[in-house]
């Protein structure tokens, strides 16, 4: 009797754990099904290499390149803020801060990741863009720059906490060997500690970037909803309204499209592309961490 109960409970708990695998399959099935339906009407070549995105206004066009360019732009801008700031924060927390300072700074940094993204979007649109206008009078109300800044700030904790773990895993003896050779602290950090922790640090960059790619509300509110094939190297393009892949999904989601239209199906095609990109980045980060990890005993 007792045994049956124990087995029954075990089965229920296994079901709960296995449900997570069900979620993954659910995501893949949902995305693949509607993406295939989309590709039965729009050639994949037209989707992946088309230069115009206009899913709801005639003439319809489903070229995803402008959206990919928008996403790349915001992601690059965010990385330019989060990578230096996150890495330096990790170095400070692991090499300089004592336990007391660290126990204050770390939770403070974590707050950055806990603020809802819609709030970051509000900050960028209502406060940061008008502030930037003092320096760039020609900046438009919606622009990639302000979106990049807030997305960069929100991924600092991801970069900082994973990099810090990697830095702290570098054994003390390596640092001491550096000091014994007469090196200063800065020198020890940049020539010994950071290179030894490089795999973990690069993994943190990859995860941060993957978060920036999937970020939705901040970029929708701040960067606008104008699909344009931007030139990332052209500074003027940073001051104009763009559209990311995620913002395009929000736009379609807000407009009244029926379950049968191509616009509705295109939602899943973009979603699937997004899913593949983030999973690939995640896998890359995992491989880097495993493959190039120096094992210290």
């Amino acid at each position: 009797m007792k045994d049956t109960k124990e087995t029954f409970i075990r089965a229920i708990l296994f079901f709960a754990a296995f449900l997570t695998v069900g979620i993954t399959f659910g995501i893949i099935l949902t995305l693949v099904e509607d993406t295939l339906r989309f590709f039965s009407e729009i050639y994949p070549l037209e989707f992946f290499f088309g230069k115009t995105w206009s899913p709801t206004i005639k003439p319809y066009s489903f070229g995803v390149l402008p959206l990919v360019a928008g996403t790349l732009m915001v992601t690059l801008g965010a990385a330019m803020i989060a990578i230096p700031s996150g890495l330096l924060a990790a170095i400070y927390l692991s090499e300089y801060a004592d336990e007391r300072v660290r126990s204050i700074l770390k939770p403070l940094l974590e707050i950055l990741a806990g603020i809802p993204t819609v709030v970051y979007g509000f900050f960028a649109f209502v406060y940061i863009t008008p502030f930037l206008r003092r320096f760039f009078p020609e900046i438009s109300a919606y622009n990639a720059l302000s979106a990049s800044i807030v997305v960069g700030i929100m991924i600092i904790p991801i970069v900082a906490s994973i990099s810090e773990d990697a830095l702290r895993a570098v054994p003390r003896s390596l640092r001491e060997a550096g000091y014994a050779l007469g090196a200063r602290k800065v020198r020890v950090i940049w020539s010994i500690v950071v290179p030894s922790a490089l795999s973990g640090i690069i993994a943190s960059f990859t995860l941060g970037i993957s978060r920036a790619v999937g970020e939705t509300m901040a970029v929708t509110i701040a960067a606008g909803r104008t699909p344009r094939l931007v030139n990332i190297l052209n500074p003027e393009d940073w001051l104009k309204s763009i559209e990311t892949m995620t913002a395009a999904m929000v736009e379609i989601g807000l407009s009244d499209v029926s379950g049968e239209s191509i616009a509705y199906e295109s939602l899943f095609a973009i979603g699937f592309t997004l899913f593949l990109i983030t999973i690939a980045l995640n896998a890359v980060s995992h491989v880097i961490k495993m493959r190039f990890r120096e094992v210290y005993k």
């Binding site: 708990l13 099935l29 700031s85 603020i115 993204t117 970020e215 997004l274």
Partner: protein
């Protein structure tokens, strides 16, 4: 002082500056929002429905809708998440199925939230034919989203329970489940509670997946049941930032942001309080 010493000091200052840079920017932005919200954030704002006249507009229906949805997410996600964590930590042998499940959970945590919205749309709306935009669909979608977070936090809490406690219980003749229920879970409870509340406060700030499942952009009455359409708080804030009038951008939107942050802050304060209380109980 040698040049190299100066270099050392400068770098330490630069690194400290980088650490507090983001926090500093956020603090300035929140203070400014708070300042702008002061004039608008009153009882009338908290108890009125939205309106196109800024002075009459409020957040009441969204506030009620968000709290209802989050309560429902808690009801769905806590048993599933804690159950999964118990299985992975206490029952599963570390074989390849367990490893597969764990890798899968870490991958799920990296999936963008908007993709969960598509899953919710495909699964609950298209396949199960639930009405789009209702509290139930929103809660189910958010449940899928926070499940990995709750599992990982609960696993950590369970792992922190010393092995000796379990062995004492087995030695007294308790079965596995009895041990888990009356020894392991109570000791892990503070950690689990903190993880759950953090996950729920993430869920209350989510917008993108709810847009995908068709949550209403504006709603004038609070949802009556879990089958009513609702407009979560972040959605209402999004709509206010989309309005051209200054009063919406610099009045109602800041007031909405402060309300949302206040709800999240109270949830986190509750987490800290509960953790301290349980911890004292365990020790005392």
């Amino acid at each position: 002082m040698k040049f190299e010493d100066l270099n050392d000091k400068l770098f330490a200052i630069l690194a400290l500056f980088a650490t507090i840079f983001g926090v500093f920017v956020l603090a300035v932005l929140i203070s400014y929002t708070f300042y702008e919200a002061l004039f608008w954030l009153d009882w009338q704002f908290l108890t009125s429905p939205p309106s196109r006249f800024p002075e009459r507009a409020g957040i009441y229906p969204s506030l009620v809708g968000s709290i209802m949805a989050i309560a429902l997410v808690g009801i769905f996600a806590v048993p599933l998440g804690v159950g999964a964590a118990i299985y992975l930590e206490e029952y599963s042998k570390k074989n390849c199925i367990a490893r597969f499940i764990e890798i899968n959970i870490s991958n799920l945590a990296a999936v963008p939230s908007i993709v969960y919205g598509l899953l919710g749309l495909g699964l609950f709306v298209s396949t199960l034919h639930l009405k789009p935009g209702i509290v139930l669909v929103g809660s189910l979608t958010l449940t899928l989203l926070v499940l990995p977070i709750i599992i990982v936090a609960s696993q950590e809490a369970l792992r922190a329970v010393p092995k000796s406690l379990r062995e004492n219980s087995f030695a007294l003749g308790a079965t596995k489940w009895q041990t888990i229920r009356s020894v392991v879970l109570p000791s892990a409870l503070p950690g689990i509670t903190t993880g759950v509340i953090l996950a729920l406060s993430r869920a209350i700030g989510e917008t993108a997946p709810l847009i995908m499942i068709g949550a209403a952009t504006t709603i004038f009455t609070p949802p009556k049941s879990i089958f009513s359409t609702y407009s979560p708080m972040p959605m209402q804030i999004f709509m206010w930032t989309d309005m051209p009038k200054e009063e919406f951008l610099h009045g109602l939107a800041p007031a909405g942001v402060i309300t949302l942050l206040a709800v999240m802050l109270s949830m986190n304060a509750l987490a800290v309080y509960l953790r301290n209380r349980y911890e004292r109980k365990l020790k005392g």
